[in-house]
């Protein structure tokens, strides 16, 4: 088991290393650096100013060397000003200027995640704050999505081919066929507009006090999550993710329902409800469990659209902002986080599978 974990962590490190290098390469192409200089120093600056800005900020060295700096394997660049004070990668990160006051190397290995150029802040702070916000969103999505998906899947799979099965399956398929950018805007129009949809009706009936039923903007959820400001973003993600889990559950359930022991139980005269709850459910939930775990990194993707749509600044939003502004170190950190999330969920899903299914043992 320990060996298994060690190997998994090893793979994770190598993956993260490869991935960050690809990201580093793609964000440090000359044209991308020019974009960075223009977003940082002024969009209408001349080419000469771009060159001098890049040089002053240490972007003029070979790419591999700078990747090493970011990792912390290579000493950070330094430059001495006319008055004897020193600037450099590590000096900026530690915000000191006296010679020798900053460490020689300052990269990931030393625990420095670098600085975000978009947010003018420590990358570690930006990422942790935004990840927290997304964590809340994901938590609620899972709380809504999982029971809903399992319920739909189990009800549909209980009696294969029945009318319930047909209608629930079609619902599940329809929900996977509706991407977030469609359902999100339809929800806003239906529930969060004072001009069309339900809200004006409800207002005229005197059912709701405010102008709209739900808020079409989740910014206020940063301070305080309420049912009203979080409902739409959560539903948008949950609905799209739900269909897939429901279909897996249904498939798994139909398979279990044809097993010998279920038939035996039925022949023994156990009531249908009892069979489903006592005998079928546990075995039918193994497959959905792994799928739900694997669904998490995928949700992290869907979150980008929803967070941008509802202007909720979470991890997906940071990813979007960092990519749109070529914020190199923030992108690198975000990809590290993404890899870790993907691989940890895979690990949990593998281990969970073993615990749920005693027939498999990890060797």
């Amino acid at each position: 088991m320990l060996l298994f974990l060690a190997r998994r962590i090893g793979v994770m490190l190598v993956t993260a290393l490869c991935l960050t290098f690809v990201v580093f390469y793609l964000t440090n192409l000359p044209a991308k650096l020019e974009t960075l200089a223009k977003t940082q120093a002024g969009s209408r600056i001349s080419d000469a100013e771009v060159v001098s800005w890049l040089e002053r900020n240490g972007y003029n060295q070979p790419m591999l060397l700078r990747y090493g700096e970011w990792l912390g394997a290579v000493p950070g660049w330094t430059r001495e000003a006319d008055d004897g004070s020193i600037t450099g990668r590590c000096y900026r990160l530690a915000s000191v200027t006296e010679p020798g006051a900053a460490p020689v190397r300052c990269g990931l290995i030393q625990g420095y995640w670098g600085n975000s150029t978009r947010f003018r802040a420590d990358v570690a702070n930006v990422i942790s704050a935004r990840l927290g916000a997304t964590g809340m969103l994901m938590l609620w999505v899972l709380i809504v999505m999982v029971p809903m998906a399992l319920l739909v899947g189990v009800l549909a799979g209980m009696r294969e081919g029945s009318r319930t099965d047909r209608s629930l399956s079609t619902f599940a398929i329809a929900s996977t066929a509706t991407p977030e950018y469609v359902s999100g805007v339809v929800f806003i129009a239906l529930f969060a507009s004072s001009a069309v949809g339900l809200s004006p009706l409800l207002v005229s009936w005197g059912v709701i006090e405010g102008p709209v039923l739900f808020q079409g903007n989740a910014r206020s959820a940063l301070e305080k999550i309420t049912f009203w400001n979080f409902f739409l973003p959560v539903m948008t993600i949950a609905l799209y993710g739900m269909g897939y889990v429901a279909r897996i559950t249904r498939a798994s359930m139909t398979e279990v329902m044809t097993q010998q022991y279920i038939r035996t139980a039925r022949l023994k005269g156990v009531s249908f409800g009892n069979i489903v709850l006592r005998h079928a459910l546990r075995n039918a939930l193994i497959a959905p469990f792994t799928v739900i775990m694997l669904q998490i990194p995928w949700l992290l993707n869907g979150v980008v659209i929803v967070e941008v749509l509802f202007s909720y600044p979470g991890f997906g939003w940071v990813l979007f902002e960092a990519a749109a502004n070529n914020d190199i170190e923030l992108l690198l950190a975000a990809s590290v986080v993404a890899v870790v999330v993907v691989l940890i969920t895979q690990l949990v899903s593998d281990i969970g599978y073993v615990y749920l299914n005693p027939r498999i043992r990890i060797t």
Binding site: L26, L29, A31, I173, Y181, V182, I188, A195
Partner: protein, 387 residues
């Protein structure tokens, strides 16, 4: 100045405009149902109501894309003064000889929503199935040996596939579809590698089968190489001497990114199925017959894996359609005035609360196509399980 149309009139007009589609659908269904017993898995599809319905939805859009020029009422890029955000059924101010109404109204730039939706079908169906197909060929070409041979090859390929899958898709798109990247060699190099795969795939496929009959082999492989490399030079390097094959750098970039995202998933599916099938008796029989590994992979394992692959192919076209829309949502990729559904939804959604028609028409189109593909996949799955 004509009167605006009422909703029943709009639907009647729609029915008339779509006539080529109705004719084609009726013909297709009549022929298919008549000969369904001779048509294998495709024929069995007509035993399942769900499958038939899904197939009808898909074919509706396929025929719409094919006959788009006959169906549309206006130039999808033309703007008509006075028709900004016009309601569905509005009459044109000065129709001239053209069609007098905007059936689904006008968008924020006074273009005809209906014509854009129809033309959008062509845009979407031009990219999505083709991209899914290339992804499949790559996934199959790499997944078969990874699953069949295993060992180092498997470890290496699986690692690369997992690497790509660990990337958040959006980040990948932002990195690959950015305009700065277009001017570098990266998309060309990637296209060079990715588009080579189908050519190799068919070459090896035919070579493995016919290498005992050199005459036939030379003919088949030769013609595949000629056509394949011709298309390859045009698509990947924009160097087609005859100028038939070609892709704008922008489209190529989108295409490469979509294929790059999809291929690893297909690879994993194919690898899994291969590992399962290679333990079957007929594979062992082929091995004892002394067949080469490529023959076994391509002519013994692959045909037996077709069921799940066809199902996944249908789903993947739908997923690719959604993915292209996502690109449109973030303003990446496709040409700005392009009527493709993702971009039109994104443009229309801004004014959704007051002028819902501009976004709803393409949104419903996209949903119905993806729904159709999903139902089709479901029908196929059910019928193929009955074997």
């Amino acid at each position: 100045m004509m009167e605006p149309l009422t909703w029943p009139q709009i639907f009647a007009q729609l029915g008339i405009q779509f006539w080529p589609v109705w004719v084609a659908l009726v013909l297709l269904y009549a022929v298919s149902i008549r000969y369904r017993r001779r048509l294998g898995l495709y024929g069995k599809l007509f035993d399942s109501k769900i499958g038939m319905f899904g197939f009808a939805l898909v074919m509706f859009w396929v025929f719409t894309a094919l006959f788009a020029d006959l169906i549309l009422t206006h130039d999808p890029l033309a703007q008509f003064s006075g028709m900004r955000n016009a309601a569905p059924g509005s009459a044109l101010r000065d129709p001239g000889n053209g069609y007098p109404h905007f059936l689904f109204g006008g968008d924020a730039l006074a273009r005809d929503v209906f014509s854009r939706m129809v033309m959008g079908a062509r845009e979407v169906l031009r990219i999505a199935p083709f991209a899914a197909m290339i992804s499949f060929m790559i996934g199959i070409s790499l997944g078969l040996p990874a699953g069949y041979i295993g060992g180092r090859l498997d470890t290496g390929l699986t690692f690369i596939a997992n690497l790509v899958l660990a990337f958040p898709v959006i980040l990948l798109f932002f990195l690959l579809v950015a305009p700065e990247i277009q001017n570098t060699a990266i998309p060309r190099v990637m296209a060079g590698i990715l588009f080579l795969m189908p050519v190799l795939f068919f070459t090896v496929l035919l070579n493995a089968r016919f290498f005992t009959q050199p005459m036939k082999r030379n003919l088949y492989v030769g013609s595949v190489l000629v056509v394949g490399l011709w298309a390859y030079s045009g698509l990947a390097f924009n160097a087609d001497p005859l100028g038939v094959w070609g892709m704008s750098p922008n489209l190529l970039n989108v295409f490469v990114a979509v294929v790059f995202v999809n291929a690893p998933t297909v690879f994993r599916i194919v690898r899994g199925i291969t590992m399962d099938i290679k333990t079957r008796d007929y594979v062992a029989a082929a091995q004892t017959r002394g067949e080469g590994p490529w023959y076994i992979m391509l002519w013994e394992i692959l045909p037996n894996a077709r069921g799940p692959l066809i199902v996944d192919f249908c789903l993947r076209i739908g997923y690719t359609t959604i993915l292209l829309g996502t690109l449109g949502f973030f303003g990446l990729g496709v040409a700005p005035e392009s009527p493709d559904w993702g971009s039109t939804i994104n443009q229309g959604r801004r004014l959704l609360t007051v002028y819902p028609h501009a976004a709803l028409a393409p949104a419903l189109a996209l949903m119905s196509l993806v729904l159709g593909l999903n139902l089709l996949a479901d029908g196929l799955r059910e019928e193929s399980l009955k074997d």
